[in-house]
Amino acid sequence: MTGNLKKSAKILVFSTEKISDPAIDMAGLLKLHYPPTVYTITIPCSSGIKPSWILHAFEKGFDGVFIAADGSDCVYGETCTEKTGNLVSAAHEQMKAKDIEPARLRMAAICSVCSEAFVKQIRSFNEYLIKTLHAQEL
C-alpha cells in the first residue's frame, strides 16, 4: 500500500521578499523539486515574524514551520540575525507551553542565491517531520 504513504509534511515557510524569495523562485526555475505541501508566505524581513503567527500555523494543522531567514544579508541591518533568533526562541517557549515539539520550528539563513540550500533544508525538514509525526502511517 505504498500509494497511501504520506511523503509530504505540510510546511509553512516564512520567506523574505528581497532575500530568500528569489532563492525559492530560483529553486523552481532550476526545477529543484521539493514537496508540494510546502507553502510560502512572503514578508519584508524575517525579524518581523510574530510568534503568534507560528503558533497559529501549528494550531491550524501545519506539521512544521520553516523560517527562511535573511541572516547577515538583511537589507534592514545586521541585527536581523539576532532578532530573528530571539523570536524563534520566544516561539519555542510558547510551543513548549502548548506541548508542541520545538523541533517543528526550524530556521536557516537562506540568501538570494541559496536555492540548493533551501531545497536541501526543506527535504531534510520534511523527512524529519514525516518520521516524527507520521511514523504510524509509514
Binding site: S8, K10, L12, K18, I19, D21, P22, A23, I24, D25, M26, A27, G28, L29, L30, K31, L32, H33, Y34, P35, P36, T37, Y39, T40, I41, I43, P44, C45, S47, G48, I49, K50, P51, S52, W53, H56, A57, K60, G61, F62, D73, V75, Y76, G77, T79, C80, K83, N86, L87, A90, C111, S112, V113
Partner: protein, 573 residues
C-alpha cells in the same frame, strides 16, 4: 464586501503544462468576494491587460489577483493595470504559481495543481484586506558604479556619462579593455580590438563625470537601491605604496565582470601533450602578431590548419551544455584573416553545425568561397588525433558524407574554445546576484527584463551574463546603462508604503519597539495624557522588527497585518 477579479495564467504552457489551470479557476470562482475568475494564455499580454482594465470597470472590481509567474517579473505590470482601471495599485495581490508551483513541482502535476489552488486562495484572502496606499519617496544617489572595465563596462560608463550622471568605473586589473584589448582584427569593423578599446577609453578618460579606478576591487557592499555604500580596495601602484581603501556612495550599479576562455583539460584533444595543438585565443594572437608572408609556429611553417569546434561547449549534462555563440564566427573570421595574410594556408573546419547567425553568415559564405573545407562530426564520434611520427593526423567521421571517415595531416590543430563564467565570482557572491544553470549571472527575464537582476538597483552587462560577441556585449551594456540611469535619474525613488502602525489604544509605552527599531523611527509621545509609541512614517523602512517584540501586540506592518497573515495561514492549512 470587496468585489475581486481573479486571473489564472497559462504562461504559454509554463504553468498549464504542470498545473490544471481550469481546475484552479473552478476551485476559486466561488470564493467569498470573487465575482470574476478567468484563465488566460498570457496574463501579461497587452490584450489581457486591456481586458483586465475593462473587467475592473465593467464588474466594479475593488481588487485584482493574478496567479502567474514570480512577482519579481510582473508585480509592477499588474499594479499598473489596476491603476489604469482606476484602482489604487496596492489593492493588487499577486500569486506566484509558476516558480513556486508548476516549475517547483513539475514532477507532480496533481501536487502542483493542489498547491496552486491553495496559493491563489491565500492571495484572495490577502486581497480582502488590501487597502489603498501611496508610495514613499526617498533620495537616490545620482552616481552609478560600473564594475568591470571590459568593452561592456567602458561602453556602459560612456553611456551613463552621456546622460550627465556621475560614473565610477572600477576595474580589478591595472588596465582597461578586458578580452577585447587582446583582439586584433574585428569582424564588421575596420578596427582592431585594442584600437577600439583605446578609442572608447580615450573618450571617457577626459570626461569630468567619469572616475576610473584600475587595480581596484569592490570588497563590500551595503545598502539598497538608491543608497549603496561600496568599499573599494586599490592595490599599491608602486612598491612600498600603502593599500588604499575608500568608500563610495552610489544609487545603482552595472556589473560587467566578463568571462574567461575555456581552457581544455590536459589531453583533451591532445591539448598540452601535443605541441601542434593550441586553443582559439592563442591562435587569434598568433595570427594577429605574426608578420611576413608565412605563418610560423614554433619554428615550423604552417600550411594545413585543422579547427575542431565546440571544445568546452555543447557538452553533455554535467559539462558546459550551452553554445558559446561567438566561437563559430570568431574562428571563421580568424581563419579567413590567416588565409589572406599568409601564403599556402589550407583551412579544414571540423564542426558540429555552423552557427554564424545574422550578418555573420557572410563570413561563412566568404570562407566557403575561398575554398575552406567543412566536415561535420557528431558529438558521439569526436575527431581523433594520432601521429605519423612527423605530423599530427586528425581523423573525423563526416556525417554529411554518410559517415565517411576522413583523415588529414595537420600542421596546426586549433581547438575552438568558448566562454565560461569567471572563476572569481566574488563580486556576484558579494552582491548576491543569482546564477543560472550555465553558472553565468542570471537576468530576471531574458526577453522582458534582460539586464535587470532580482537585486533592485543592480543590472548586468556583457558576457558575465552569458556568451556574447562584442556588439552583443555593447548592446547589453547600453541597455544596462539606461536601466541603471532610470533608477536614479530623478534623484528620488518611489518605495513601498509599507510602514509600521501602532494601535494607540493597546499601546502603553514600554520602549521595546524603540529598542528593536534599527532606524530610530519610533518615539515616545504623550497622547491624551497617555505615553505611547508613535511611528515616524518618513523614517520607518517597513522591516517590521518592532512588531514581534510588542507585549500587547499593538504593532502591525501595513500589508502584513495580523488579519492578513492569519487569513492566509487559515487558507493554506
Amino acid at each position: 464586501m470587496k468585489r475581486l477579479g481573479v486571473y489564472i495564467c497559462h504562461c504559454g504552457g509554463n504553468i498549464s503544462d504542470y498545473v490544471d489551470v481550469e481546475e484552479v479557476r473552478k476551485a476559486v470562482e466561488h470564493e467569498e468576494g470573487v465575482v470574476l475568475a478567468k484563465t488566460t494564455m498570457f496574463a501579461c499580454s497587452d490584450s489581457n491587460q486591456n481586458d483586465m482594465v475593462s473587467d475592473i470597470k465593467k464588474h466594479k472590481l475593488d481588487g485584482v489577483v493574478v496567479a502567474s509567474c514570480s512577482p519579481k517579473l510582473h508585480l509592477v505590470t499588474f499594479r499598473n493595470v489596476t491603476e489604469r482601471g482606476d484602482l489604487n495599485k496596492y489593492t493588487y495581490v499577486h500569486a506566484n504559481i509558476r516558480e513556486q508551483a508548476s516549475w517547483a513541482h513539475s514532477d507532480d502535476k496533481q501536487g502542483a495543481t493542489g498547491k496552486a489552488i491553495h496559493l491563489v486562495k491565500a492571495a484572495i484572502a490577502k486581497s480582502r484586506y488590501a487597502e489603498p496606499l501611496y508610495p514613499n519617496q526617498i533620495e537616490a544617489e545620482k552616481t552609478i558604479a560600473v564594475i568591470g572595465a571590459g568593452i561592456a563596462g567602458l561602453k556602459a560608463a560612456a553611456s551613463i556619462s552621456d546622460k550627465n550622471i556621475n560614473v565610477i568605473l572600477i576595474e580589478k586589473e591595472n588596465r582597461v579593455g578586458g578580452h577585447a584589448a587582446e583582439l586584433g582584427d574585428l569582424f564588421m569593423s575596420d578596427e582592431k580590438g585594442y584600437d577600439l578599446v583605446n578609442r572608447v577609453y580615450n573618450d571617457i578618460v577626459q570626461r569630468e563625470n567619469v572616475t576610473i579606478l584600475t587595480g581596484s576591487e569592490v570588497i563590500s557592499s551595503k545598502g539598497s537601491i538608491g543608497d549603496f555604500t561600496l568599499k573599494i580596495r586599490k592595490r599599491p601602484q608602486n612598491a612600498g605604496d600603502p593599500v588604499e581603501t575608500m568608500e563610495i556612495k552610489v544609487g545603482s550599479m552595472v556589473v560587467a565582470t566578463g568571462f574567461e576562455s575555456y581552457i581544455p583539460k590536459e589531453g583533451e584533444f591532445d591539448y598540452v601533450v601535443n605541441e601542434n595543438v593550441i586553443a582559439l585565443p592563442e591562435f587569434k594572437l598568433l595570427v594577429d602578431k605574426s608578420t611576413g608572408d608565412r605563418l610560423i609556429y614554433k619554428g615550423k611553417t604552417i600550411k594545413n590548419i585543422v579547427y575542431i569546434y565546440c571544445v568546452g561547449s555543447r557538452q553533455n549534462e554535467g559539462g558546459n551544455t550551452y553554445c558559446s555563440r561567438f566561437c563559430c564566427t570568431s574562428v571563421i573570421h580568424t581563419s579567413i584573416e590567416a588565409k589572406k595574410k599568409f601564403k599556402n594556408i589550407y583551412n579544414i573546419h571540423l564542426n558540429r553545425g555552423i552557427r554564424t547567425y545574422g550578418k555573420q553568415e557572410l563570413l561563412y559564405a566568404e570562407s566557403l568561397k575561398m575554398g575552406d573545407i567543412y566536415l561535420q562530426f557528431d558529438q558521439t564520434t569526436p575527431p581523433e588525433i594520432t601521429s605519423n611520427g612527423k605530423n599530427s593526423i586528425v581523423t573525423v567521421t563526416d556525417i554529411l558524407s554518410e559517415g565517411k571517415k576522413m583523415s588529414v595531416e595537420a600542421d596546426l590543430i586549433v581547438l575552438v574554445t568558448g566562454m565560461v563564467p569567471r572563476s572569481d565570482q566574488s563580486v556576484g557572491t558579494m552582491l548576491k546576484i543569482p546564477k543560472g544553470r550555465d553558472k553565468f549571472y542570471n537576468e530576471v527575464h531574458i526577453k522582458l527584463r534582460p539586464v535587470e537582476t532580482v537585486i533592485d538597483g543592480i543590472t548586468i552587462a556583457g558576457a558575465c551574463q552569458g556568451p556574447k560577441n562584442i556588439s552583443e556585449s555593447v548592446n547589453s551594456a547600453l541597455s544596462a546603462a539606461t536601466k541603471s540611469f532610470s533608477y536614479v535619474s530623478k534623484g528620488t525613488l518611489e518605495t513601498e508604503p509599507i510602514i509600521a502602525v501602532i494601535n494607540e489604544d493597546s499601546c502603553s509605552w514600554c520602549g521595546k519597539c524603540l529598542e528593536a527599531c534599527p532606524f530610530d523611527a519610533i518615539e515616545k509621545r504623550n497622547v491624551n495624557s497617555r505615553e505611547i509609541a508613535v511611528v515616524n512614517s518618513s523614517v520607518c523602512k517597513g522591516c517590521g522588527m518592532c512588531a514581534p517584540v510588542c507585549p500587547p501586540d499593538a504593532i502591525n506592518l501595513i500589508g502584513y497585518r495580523n488579519e492578513e497573515i492569519i487569513s492566509m495561514i487559515d487558507v493554506l492549512a
